[in-house]
């Protein structure tokens, strides 16, 4: 976990309001793991004030480059989208605990389920799983055709099913209708209703969900991002999404 004043190498709109930004810093290396995130300062003054949590979509350790994919929707991400190559992008990272890639073994199967801007971290995950010889399948849900991204890129690692809520691309409906029920692992990232729907998926070896929560510090100090622990009777047990998560095993925390 470091503060890195990275350089914006490139930035492009890869789908409607969805941007892919690549940053460079010599300390970007293999310590950045799939499912971890970076906390990004957008703009220069005090408006917007807080950093924005963005998942690590990909890291090229040899080039010291990190890719993020984000939707420019609110104030901060819109400012980020306006930043041009060459400018400094201040980020904290790598933050949190990612997907447990190290638990997986060659020949196992993993189902990766992403919803909207929950899809990006699965890309890096898919690559790392593939490297270990895990067989990967993807199911990605989007609102509509114009916001679909990275389909081809994911195909390099395994089959990809796309769903759109309005049926304008791929299968109509939600990811939950397209799940292969035989995977050893399920790894998912997306909006909270999607995660809730996946919580009871019976994967043989484990279901891991990446959560979202509004954050202050992003490093575990401010207690903005806590969630309750499942089965805790005292009511006081908690996990911090930023530093204990964002990835939790299904059943660990209350969604």
């Amino acid at each position: 976990m470091k503060q890195l004043k990275t350089e914006l190498v490139s930035q492009k709109e890869i789908a409607a309001s969805i941007y892919e930004a690549v940053v460079f810093h010599k300390e970007i290396d293999e310590s950045f793991q799939p499912g971890q995130f970076v906390h990004v300062k957008t703009g220069f003054g005090s408006d917007p004030l807080l950093r924005r949590p963005i998942s690590i979509c990909h890291v090229e350790p040899s080039k010291h480059e990190l890719t993020m994919i984000y939707r420019a929707e609110g104030k901060g991400t819109k400012v980020l989208a306006e930043m041009v190559p060459g400018v400094e992008v201040d980020l904290l990272g790598p933050l949190g605990n990612g997907f447990p890639v190290e638990k997986t073994m060659e020949g196992e199967t993993a189902l990766l389920v992403g919803g909207g801007i929950g899809v990006p971290p699965l890309y890096y995950l898919s690559q790392e799983l593939t490297k270990r010889g895990v067989n990967v399948k993807h199911v990605h849900g989007f609102q509509t055709s114009s916001v679909v991204f990275y389909e081809e890129k994911f195909k390099a690692y395994g089959p990809v099913t796309i769903t759109t809520a309005d049926g304008t691309y791929g299968e109509e409906g939600f990811v939950t209708n397209q799940l292969d029920m035989n995977a050893d692992y399920l790894f998912a990232c997306g909006p909270s209703p999607m995660l809730k729907a996946l919580e009871n998926y019976q994967a043989k070896k484990g279901v891991y969900l990446s959560l979202e929560q509004r954050m202050g510090c992003g490093i575990g100090a401010c207690l903005a991002c806590v969630c309750h622990v499942q089965g805790d009777e005292t009511g006081f047990a908690y996990r911090k999404v930023c530093s204990d998560g964002p990835v939790f095993q299904a059943g660990e925390v209350v969604l």
């Binding site: 976990m1 470091k2 503060q3 300062k41 003054g45 005090s46 408006d47 917007p48 004030l49 807080l50 950093r51 104030k75 901060g76 201040d90 904290l92 929560q213 509004r214 954050m215 202050g216 510090c217 992003g218 490093i219 575990g220 100090a221 401010c222 207690l223 903005a224 991002c225 806590v226 969630c227 309750h228 005292t234 009511g235 006081f236 908690y238 530093s243």
Partner: protein, 313 residues
């Protein structure tokens, strides 16, 4: 570095910069960025008698140049703070200011009495101004009589000096300051957050699950400066100032207003190195202002002797 050294009741500070309560946990996280030895002091997260989970999430929302929080005093409770957090902090050469909160006067007294015995706790900060808890909290900080009572009760049991944290959500901040001074407070810390709210256009409901929350960050600095300017002229106890501090320049502005030390809250989230960066920048800034020791600046904005002096320049 002696030009930054500041002595306040119970506190011999190598510099007057410290993280504000609730914005630095118990130091563990930020110690991954830099050594906590550098800090003048640390104001740790509020401690209550029993553990508290706090409010439901979302607990933070951004506002223009500010943020709202409604953490709700989540903390592991007195016992674990005594056994785990404070001992961990004792490996650093830095005085701790323990932030004490509660729902009843007895709560405050219980926590204050015990926590003030911890070896590295050099002062208490009485949090009578938390806007984010239903009972107690803000009520203590907006009603002069209760502020008086809780301060007096805590003073009686505390082994270390007591600073009272004032709420800005009052008509007459000077009155509150005088009341707690009369009750025996050794110092003041101000300001806590302003009560604020943001509403989500899509849901039509407040962003914070709690509804309202406490506004902090650069947006509130002018309110804090005004209040410290007013209060420092009317009390004889020192003030640790806070609210929107981001830079060494902000720190000087607080001193000029009347503060004797300064705490950094929200800015830690924006830049984790804010405190050490400010500490490093202060000596050069003092040079630029032609000031030898930072304490000379306290209250200059209203001190008439200084008016006379400076006009002869």
């Amino acid at each position: 570095m002696s030009r930054l050294r500041v002595e306040l009741p119970g506190l011999d500070l190598k510099n007057p910069i410290m993280p504000a309560s609730g914005c630095f946990g118990f130091g563990r996280e930020y110690s991954q960025f830099y050594s906590l030895d550098q800090l003048g002091a640390i104001m740790v997260k509020a401690t209550t008698h029993e553990p508290r989970f706090g409010n439901p999430t979302p607990r933070v929302a951004e506002t223009t140049s500010g943020m709202l929080n409604a953490i709700g005093l989540q903390n592991p409770g007195l016992e674990r703070v005594m056994v785990e957090e404070l001992p961990w902090l004792s490996k650093f050469d830095v005085p701790i200011i323990a932030n004490v909160a509660g729902s009843t006067i007895e709560d405050y007294v219980t926590v204050a009495e015990e926590i003030s015995t911890a070896e590295n706790v050099h002062a208490l900060e009485l949090n009578i101004s938390c806007p984010n808890v239903k009972e107690g909290g803000l009520a203590f900080g907006t009603v002069p009589e209760t502020a008086y009572e809780v301060t007096k009760a805590v003073k009686e049991v505390s082994s270390v000096p007591v600073y009272v944290k004032l709420s800005p959500n009052v008509t007459d901040i000077v009155q509150m300051a005088k009341v707690v001074e009369r009750a025996g407070a050794d110092g003041l810390t101000m300001i806590n957050t302003l009560l604020g709210m943001r509403i989500d256009l899509k849901t039509g409901k407040p962003i914070l699950a709690n509804g309202a929350g406490g506004l902090s960050g650069p947006a509130i600095k002018p309110v804090a400066i005004r209040m410290i300017h007013q209060v420092s002229q009317q009390v004889n106890i020192p003030i640790i100032g806070m609210g929107g501090v981001q830079s060494a320049e902000d720190v000087i502005e607080y001193f000029l207003a009347g503060a004797s030390a300064v705490a950094v809250g929200t800015a830690n989230f924006v830049d984790p190195f804010t405190c050490p960066t400010i500490i490093d920048a202060l000596p050069a800034l003092l040079d630029e202002l032609g000031v030898h020791h930072i304490s000379e600046l306290t209250g200059r904005s209203w001190k008439t002797e200084w008016n006379l002096q400076s006009s002869s320049h």
